[in-house]
Symmetry: C2
Subunit: 754 residues, 2 copies
Amino acid sequence: MIKTTYPPSILQYIPFFFVIWSDDLLTLSEIAVVKKIIDDDQNLSKKDRETLNSWLNTAQPPLDTEIKSWQRAISNSGIKLVEGDNHPLTSFSKKLISQNGSEHVFNEDLSAIETNLGIQPNHYHHLFEVEVVLEKTSNFYDPKEIDQIFKGTNHREIDEFREALSNSIFSWEIIKNKENFREKVLTQVQYLAKAGYGAMAYPEAYGGTGNMPLYATIFENLMYVDGSLTVKFGVQFGLFGGSIQKLGTKKHHDRYLTAIGEAKLLGCFAMTETGHGSNVRGIKTTATYNKEEDNITIHTPGKNDNKEYIGNALHGTMASVFAQLIVDGKNHGVHAILVPLRDSENRLMPGVRIEDNGYKLGLNGVDNGKIWFDQVKVPRANLLNKYGDIKSDGSYYSDIKNPNKRFFTMLGTLVGGRICVAKGALSGAKMSLAIAVKYALQRRQFNDNLKIQEDLIMDYPSHQLRLTPAIAKSYVYQITLDSLMKIYSDDSITDKRKIETQVAGLKAIITWFANETIQECREACGGKGYLLENRIADLKGDVDIFTTFEGDNTVLLQLAAKGIMSDFNTEFNSAGFSAVFKLLGTQISDKLVTINPIYANKVDKEHLYNPKFHQHAFDYRTRRLTYSAAMRIRDYIKKGVPTYQAFLKVQTHLIALGKAYSCELAYNTYLQFTETIEDKKNQQLFQKLGCLFALSEIREDASWYLEQGYLGGTKSKAIRQRVERLSTEFRPHIEVLVDGFGIPDHCLTAPISR
Amino acid sequence: MIKTTYPPSILQYIPFFFVIWSDDLLTLSEIAVVKKIIDDDQNLSKKDRETLNSWLNTAQPPLDTEIKSWQRAISNSGIKLVEGDNHPLTSFSKKLISQNGSEHVFNEDLSAIETNLGIQPNHYHHLFEVEVVLEKTSNFYDPKEIDQIFKGTNHREIDEFREALSNSIFSWEIIKNKENFREKVLTQVQYLAKAGYGAMAYPEAYGGTGNMPLYATIFENLMYVDGSLTVKFGVQFGLFGGSIQKLGTKKHHDRYLTAIGEAKLLGCFAMTETGHGSNVRGIKTTATYNKEEDNITIHTPGKNDNKEYIGNALHGTMASVFAQLIVDGKNHGVHAILVPLRDSENRLMPGVRIEDNGYKLGLNGVDNGKIWFDQVKVPRANLLNKYGDIKSDGSYYSDIKNPNKRFFTMLGTLVGGRICVAKGALSGAKMSLAIAVKYALQRRQFNDNLKIQEDLIMDYPSHQLRLTPAIAKSYVYQITLDSLMKIYSDDSITDKRKIETQVAGLKAIITWFANETIQECREACGGKGYLLENRIADLKGDVDIFTTFEGDNTVLLQLAAKGIMSDFNTEFNSAGFSAVFKLLGTQISDKLVTINPIYANKVDKEHLYNPKFHQHAFDYRTRRLTYSAAMRIRDYIKKGVPTYQAFLKVQTHLIALGKAYSCELAYNTYLQFTETIEDKKNQQLFQKLGCLFALSEIREDASWYLEQGYLGGTKSKAIRQRVERLSTEFRPHIEVLVDGFGIPDHCLTAPISR
C-alpha cells in the first residue's frame, strides 16, 4: 500500500527523490551522497530513516506507483518553482513543507544533493510548473576570471589590444567586391602595423618586443574582426617577415625587418606551387647561381610550376621565394630567396608575371595570386642564408651537411605559423559558439500545451549535446595551443623536432574541430545562422581553408604519425625505419596491459570522471595504435614490400594514430595546466570541462575501444550517458563559459547575439 | 630451405601468391577460389599441387622469407607490368614464364583470381616497376548505361532538358552583387518557364504534363547550373504554384496556375516567421474573417511575427500566406490565403512592408525577404479552400473535423518539396564528387624515390576511402528518392502519412550527407577546391541551408521517430502515445532475437557481402531503437513524468532512431530496385555499390552494434577492412561511376575537372 501523503520529515526529500528516480540519476557514488545526508539528518525518526533508505536501493527501486504518488504530492502543492533561486529544488522543498504549516526544521543539507548530483532545471523542466525567471544564466562563475586564466601573463597587453579593436576601422561590414575588400583589409593591416602590433614577435631592435606568444594571441583575436584581416596580417608579419627573421641573417634583418613590421615593405611567402603543395620538397622553381655574374636566376620551368595561392601577391613588392638552389650544377634542395616583385611605382619587375587567383569560398579580402618567374636575376645576398649559403668564392656551404635534415630544419622554423593557424581556426569556433549560445538563450520554439511560453532551444538536450562538448574542447585546445606556443618560443629548446610533430597533429585536429563546430553552430542558429550579418557564415567560409593551408590535414597527421613512430629521433622520411620499428615493437608491447573485464565495465561516476581513467584510455590508444602500425609495417617489409608501399598500405592507420596522439597530448597539457589554477572554484570548473572533453573523445572513438575490449558495452553506454548529463549540468553556466572566451563585445556584432 | 627459383608451373602462380600474402587478402571463400584454380590446373604435377596448396593454409601461412623470395623472383625478372591490360597481373605472369623460354602452357584461368579477389593496381602499386598507362580508368562499365538506369522511363525528356542547359543563358559566371545575380536568375527562371519546364507538374489544362517525378528531376539537374536558380525555380513553381495546386480549388487553378507556370505571375510561399520556423503550428500571423465585409484581414501582430526568408519576396507580386484563420472569433488553425504584394506597376500594396534579407552564406541569387502585413484585406475567395473553407454564410467548414489532422493533411501535401530538397542536395554532392574524382585522376603528389612520376592522389587509400563510399551512398540515395517521388506522385495512394515520415527522415540524412560530402570534396581538392571557379565552393554555400529549410533536420528526425513509434497510425503529436507504446513494446520485443556469438563474429566475405546480413543488421537496429525508446518513454510516463517531458528526455535517442530507420529504408528500396536491373553486369555493379553503402553505414555506427553485442570486435574490424578494400576495388571504375551520374558536360565547367 503506497501512501499519498507524507510527513514533513519525509516530504522535504520527495522532490529530490522524484527527480532522481524519474531520471535514473543514481550510481554508487551518488547514492552515497544522498545516504550521507539522510544519515546526518538529526530530525528523522528511525522509521523515516528506514523509509528513505529503502528508496535508495537500486537493486529494488521504488515502484512506479510510489514515484507517481510523489509526483502528485508535488503537483498538487501548487507551489511554483523559481529557476532563478540558487538551489531551486531546495527552495521548492522548503516551501513544500512550510506550506503545510509544519514546524519541522528543514534540512538545509539537501542542497548538497542538487550540487553533487548536478541536478539542473533540465531535469525537472516540465515536471513542475516553473515560473520563468529573467536570468538566462547563473552567475556562479565569473567570465572575467575565466578570461584572466586564459590570458595569463600577457593580460594587460591583450586587454589593450582588444580595446584597440573598437576603433571604427575594424567595424564589420559586407564588402562583396574583392578589390574594395582588399583595400580595406590593407588599410587595417597598415593601421595595426603603425600601432606596433605587426612587429610584436620581432626583436626590439626592429620595433618589436620579441614576444611571439603575444603575437599569436593578437593573431587569434583578429579573427573576431575578420578572417581576411587575420590571414593578411599573418602573411605579412608572420610568413613573409617570419621567413626573413628565421631563415635570413643580420644583413637581411637590418635591411628589411623594420620596414616589414611597419608594413612599409609588403611581401609574400612564395612556397606553394600549382603542382606542389603538400610535397614542398618536390617544388620545381629553380634558383640557379651564376658564378660569373655573382647572382641568382629565379625561374619557373613548367606549366604547373608557378607559385599559387600566394597572399599579398597583388599588394606585395617582394617575395620570399622557395626554390631548388642549384650551385655549380648541383641541386642543394629547397632554399628561400628574396625576389623583388614590383618597383617603387608598383610596376611589375621584368620577368615577373602575377595573376589574381580570383574569388574564393572565403578570405576574399586577401589578395591571393599566381606568380611566374622568367629568368629573374637577383643578387647573391638575397639568399636567406642562415642554414645554407653561397660563399663569395661561389661555393655552397651549410652547417647542416645532410640535405634532408637541412630541409626539415628550415621548414621547422616556420612551425609557429601552424600554431597560429590552429589558433585562428579555434577563434572561429569560439566566436560561433558564443553566437549560437546567445541565440539559443533567446530563441524559443515548441512547448507543451500547458505552458504559454515556448521552450528556450538551449533547454533541449539535443541542443546541449550539440554545443557543450564543443565548448569544453575549445577550452582544452586553447590551453594546449598557448602552452605549445610558449615551448616553441623558448629559445633554450633548440631541438624542435618533437614540437613539429605535435603541432602537425594538433593543427589537423583543431582545424577540423573548428570547421565542424562552426557548421554545427550555423545549423543550431537555423535560418538566422545563414545570414551574413550573423557572422557565422563568413567564419565558415574563411576557416574552411585552414584545414588545407600550412599543411593539408591528412598529410600532417601522417607526418605526425611518422614522428611518433620514430620517437622523434629520425628525419621525416619513409626510409630506414626497420631498426626503429623493431626496437619500438619490443618497447611498447612490454607496456601494453591486458584489460580485465571488471575494468572494462566499471561504470561508477568516480571512475568515469577520474582523469586517471581518461589518461589511461588515451595512453592505451596511442600505444596500441603505434604498436600495431609499426608491426604491420614491419610485417610488410619482412615480406619484401618496399617501405614506401608499406607506409601507403597502413595510411588510414597512421591517420588514426596521428589523431589519437594529438588528443592525448591536448588532454595531458590541459590537465597539467589546471593544476596551476589557484582559485579552487575555477580550477574545478576547468577540470570538469576537461572531463567532458575526455569522455566526449572516448565516446567518439568508442567503436575502437570496444573492438579492443578496452570498453565493455555497459561502460560505453555509461560514457555516452555521462556526456549527455555533463552537457546538461553545464546548462546554467553556458553563457558564462562562452563569455569566458573574452571576445570583445564590440566584435560580437551579430544581431542574434545581442 | 626455401627455393629461390621456381619451375614455370609454379612460377606462374607466384605473382598472385605474392600479392595475396603480402596484403593478407585471404578469407575462406577467397581461398576456395584459388584452390579451385589449382585443382583444375591439368598441367600441375602432384608435387606442384601440394606445394601450391601448402601456400593456401592460413593456419600455417608461408614464411616471410618465402614471400620475400617470391618478391625477388618478380623484381629480378625485369618485366614491366602494364596497368592498361585487362588483367594486368595475369599478363605479367604470362610474360614471366615465357621469359624463361619455357614451353609450359600458361593457365589462363589465373585471371579469375584477379577478378574474384578484386585485386587492383593498388594492391601491387610500387611492388612492381609499373609502366604508366594513359587510361586513368577502366572501360569495363559504360557510364551511359548507368545513367540510363537512373533516368528510367523519363530518359528522353531528361536528355532533352540536359541539352537545353547548354544554352548560354545558363553559363556559369561569378556575380557578387546580389541585385545583378538576382536579375540573372530571374531571367533564367523566365526562360525555363517559357520552355514549359516550370509547369511540368501541373495538369495539362494549365500548360503542364502532370509529371511530378520529371519536375523533380528537372529541379535536381538545375543544381548543376546553379543553386540559386534551383531554389528560385522551386519557390516559384513548386512552393508558390504547388500551394495553389494542392491547397486551392478549381477557381484558384483556373485563375492563377497557367500564369504561374509561365512565370508571368511571380509569387512567394510565406510560411516561416522570424519567431516560428520549425513550429509552424505556432505561427502568429492572423487571417481574420470579417463577416460584414465578407473579406479576410491579414495581420502581423508582433515584433517577431513577420514572415522571414521568403524567396521571391523582392520579385513576387503575390504570396500564399500561412496564417491562423479566425472565423467568428474562433481559431481554426493554420490556413493559406493568397495576398497580393505588389500592383501591376510593382509598387507595394497598402499595408504590406517588405525588407531584403540581405547577403547570405549562399543562394545570393535568390531574393529572400521579410514581409509584414498591417491589416491587409483580401477577398474571401483568396482562401485556399481545399481542406477548410468559409462558406457564403460566413461559417467555417472543413471535411476534416479534427484540427490536428487537418493541419497535418495540409502540410502533408507539401511533402514533395522535401523530396526535391533532398534531391537538390544530392546533386550538389554528386557534382562535387565528380569534380573531386576527376581532379584526383590528374593530380599527382609524392612518390617513392625510385620512380620519376609522383602518384595520382586517387591511388592513395585514404583518398579512396574519402570518396568511394560517398559515391556508393549517392547511388543508393538517388534510387531511393526517385522511388519515393514515384510513390508520392501516385494519386491512387491517398494516405500519405507513411511517406511523410519517410521523407522527413530521408531529407535529414541526405542533406547532411550532401554537406559532409561537399566538404570532403573541397578538402580533397586542396587549395583548388577553395577557388570559386572550381564550383565546389558555391555548392558548399548553397547546399548548407538545405539542412534547415523545408524542416530543420534535427526536428525532422524526431518527427520521423514519432511516426515510426506510432506505426504511422496516429497524428504527429506527443499526446496519447501510451497505448501505442504498450502494444508496440510487446510486438517488437517478441521479434527481437538474441545474437549468438558465432554470428556476432562471422567474418567471412560471403557473409559480410550478403545483403541478408545488411538487412538483418539494419532491421535489428531500427527495432531495437524503437523498442528501447518506447520503453524508456513508457517508464517515464508510468512514473508520472508528463508525456512532453518524457519525449524531451529521450530526444537524442529519437534522433538515432530517425537516422536508423531512414538508412534501412534507403537500403531496402535500393536493393529492391537492383532486382529490376536487367543487365547482369550492371546489376552486379549496383549491388556491389549497395554492399559498400551497407558496410559503411554499419561501420559508422559500429559503436552501437558493439555495445549491443550484435557485432564482436573481430567482425567490426573485418567490416572496417572490407570498406577499405571495396573502396580500393572500385578504383579502376571510379571515373565511370561519377560519369554515370549524367552531369551534362557543359555544366562541369570547373577547370580542375576538365
